[in-house]
């Protein structure tokens, strides 16, 4: 029962993040000049428009919830992950009080209830649990799955290392490796920018490692957020306890526990994240949530209410009129935006290369603009262009002459046959010296670069070597 309730909350939070992002995107399109077109094009936004489009207080309703599990906003109350707050302190060496207030709610909840974020809220925790279920399916097919484990204290090193690098070099790595942050970021990217970041590779790597090599190793022994929550909830009020009078020592709970805690021994260690798997699966119902007697419940409640009141002062409602729109309605296919631009400095010359792909044709317009960094004057000599494919021989293709624009840019039109990566070689002379500059030009759809497989490959290789070393040591 509790597990089903928990799974419901997890799913609703996971889908809620997606829904909140879509709703905020919808609202942004609604208030924007030319946004109606975007809404009409997408079927999801159209259905959202049907539900919310006619409401009077649309802006208030749609943007009532904002953000994701890393940083959230309900009305005017901001909530931020404590890990973000800790990382911020370590980098700035100062406390920014609004951020502290935003981190206070999760901190208080963690102090009172324990590591509930990990098992009840974290969207990545849900994926990891489903992944573990998939693993049991694979085990039924008798696949040789690894069972590599890391000691649980590793996560404190990850947490401490991040704080240390933040204190010393002013840069921490929590946002690069913290899965709930990455997954909420990727949801944001996929909804609003319809693209994905590099974080996806990391998440899939984690899922693959958990599936084949080390079950639940991230939550158990590497997650910096989990480490912080464990430290915060040292004196948690809510605990799972085993009634030893009832317990029959069947050991079901010990095998189920994802954190390798042994609930059958009575008191659970602080690694427990209250996922309540052991409670639901216990055949004699000897395990249950317990509040110890030493709680000062009224005092804690007053403290909570007082701190909650502080949040209402933290922010005010946002103004929502937009100005400064230029007199043109710029749409997505605004033709003056170059597809690509690159600026380099070669000796005295600042080389600016840009190109525009002409719509619905196989034509490109290449332009080079040279400016002397010392005198500020444009280049007045001759420039020749050469375009060849990434894997072609540069000598095989001829040079084109450019035509000199009255506005001091050198232009050449160029038609291509296939999508792909091309190299543009520009040749110019200055004071008898020949300069050759290569620019990379990507046109159309280019396939997935197979080099990216190297990164997960290296990780898997390291893990395999570690396992081999461990096995050899144990056989000795």
């Amino acid at each position: 029962m509790i597990t089903k309730f928990r799974r419901l909350i997890q799913w609703s939070i996971f889908l809620g993040i997606i829904l909140i992002t879509v709703l905020n995107y919808y609202e942004n399109q609604k208030v924007k000049y030319g946004g109606e077109l975007v809404i009409q094009e997408s079927p999801i936004l159209r259905t959202v428009d049907k539900i919310f489009g006619q409401l009077e207080n649309r802006t208030k309703i749609v943007t009532f919830l904002q953000g994701d599990v890393w940083s959230f906003q309900i009305g005017s109350i901001k909530i931020t992950d404590p890990l973000a707050f800790i990382g911020n302190i370590s980098r700035t060496k100062a406390i920014y009080w609004p951020l502290f207030l935003a981190a206070l709610i999760p901190i208080i909840l963690t102090i009172l209830l324990g590591k509930v974020f990990c098992s009840w809220i974290c969207p990545m925790g849900l994926l990891f649990e489903l992944n573990a279920k998939l693993r049991t399916v694979l085990q039924k097919f008798a696949l040789p799955l690894g069972n590599f484990t890391l000691p649980p204290w590793c996560k404190y090193i990850v947490l401490g290392g991040g704080i240390f690098t933040g204190l010393v070099w002013g840069a921490h790595y929590f946002f690069l490796i913290y899965p709930p942050k990455i997954i909420s970021g990727e949801i944001y990217f996929s909804v609003i920018k319809s693209s994905l970041g590099y974080g996806v590779a990391f998440l899939f790597l984690l899922l693959a490692i958990e599936l084949f090599l080390a079950p639940r190793f991230w939550c158990r022994s590497l997650c910096p957020g989990g480490a912080l929550y464990t430290l915060l909830s040292q004196f948690r009020f809510l605990r799972i306890k085993n009634d030893l009078n009832r317990c029959t020592n069947c050991g079901i709970c010990d095998t189920l526990c994802p954190y390798d805690i042994t609930p059958s021994k009575g008191k659970l260690s602080l690694e427990c994240d209250h996922c309540s798997l052991c409670i639901t699966k216990c055949p004699v119902k000897s395990l249950s949530f317990k509040m110890p007697n030493r709680t000062h419940t009224p005092g804690v409640c007053i403290w909570l209410i007082l701190t909650m009141c502080l949040f209402f002062n933290a922010t005010t409602a946002s103004a929502h009129h937009i100005r400064g729109l230029p007199h043109y309605g710029y749409s997505e296919n605004y033709p003056q935006t170059p597809t690509y631009e690159e600026i380099r400095v070669v000796d005295d010359w600042k080389v600016n290369f840009s190109y525009i792909k002409i719509f619905e044709t196989k034509n490109c317009d290449l332009a080079v603009y040279l400016k002397n960094t010392k005198t500020g004057k444009p280049y007045a000599g001759k420039i020749r262009f050469k375009v060849f494919g990434e894997r072609e021989d540069p000598e095989a293709s001829p040079y084109y002459d450019t035509h000199f624009d009255p506005t001091n840019t050198f232009r050449v039109g160029w038609a291509y046959e296939l999508d792909g990566v091309y190299i543009v070689r520009a040749q110019f002379f200055d004071e008898g010296k020949e300069y050759i500059e290569d620019f990379r030009m990507q046109i159309g759809k280019v396939g997935f670069n197979p080099l990216w497989w190297a990164i997960p490959g290296i990780f898997v290789l390291i893990l395999i070597i570690l396992i081999a070393v461990k096995q050899r040591r144990s056989s000795k």
Binding site: T165, F175, I192, G197, Y198, T337, R344, V345, T409
Partner: protein, 195 residues
């Protein structure tokens, strides 16, 4: 044996940490010098160093932005700047609605009200527009004046010269980049240089 292990581990730790800090500085080895790219940060941003320290990479500013102009640096070789917001005005410029500053939880974008243009003039300083007279159409015989019409801050900021030549007043320019977005020449003749 223990001491040797200890020395080995410290050495590895320091090597790894130096690598990490080097990666943050975006060192590029090659025959041509690449310009150190300065990013145009959203309005109300703290100075670059403080901004990088305070930003918690939460994407809230991008979610609040109605013109979708805020983008995120997605560069795994540059971890200190990874996932921080920036604006590419050539693609999509800031319309100075100040919603991102109201959404920011960490104070890296200082809160600015959008009630009157005075607060924008006073508090927003993202960059300064610079006209390249070598390639600007109006300075080379074609009367254009698109950027002047795009500027939301009026005649005191982007003045019209003869033949619609744009003249920037650096004191008033806030660096929103609407002029850069509207420029019909490419490479663009008016650019916002981040501060």
């Amino acid at each position: 044996m223990i001491r040797r292990n200890f020395i080995k581990r410290t050495l590895i730790f320091f090597a790894a940490s130096t690598l990490y800090s080097l990666m943050g500085n975006h060192v590029v080895f090659g025959k041509t010098r690449k310009i150190f790219k300065k990013y145009l940060r959203p309005p109300g941003a703290l100075p670059e160093k403080d901004f990088l320290a305070t930003c918690i990479n939460c994407h809230r500013c991008g979610q609040a932005c109605p013109s979708d102009c805020i983008q995120y640096i997605n560069d795994p070789l540059n971890p200190s700047m990874h996932d921080t917001p920036y604006i590419n005005p050539r693609q999509k410029a800031c319309i100075l609605c100040m919603k991102c500053t109201q959404a920011c939880p960490s104070g890296s974008l200082q809160r600015i009200d959008n009630d009157d243009s005075d607060s924008i003039h006073k508090h927003v300083k993202m960059g300064i527009a610079v006209v390249d007279t070598n390639i600007c159409n109006s300075y080379n015989g074609y009367s254009c004046g698109v950027c002047i019409r795009a500027c939301p801050l009026g005649e005191e900021t982007l003045k019209t010269g003869n033949w619609e030549r744009p003249i920037v007043n650096p004191d008033n320019c806030v660096g929103c980049g609407l002029c850069e977005q509207s420029c019909i020449h490419y490479p663009q003749a008016i650019r916002v240089e981040p501060i």
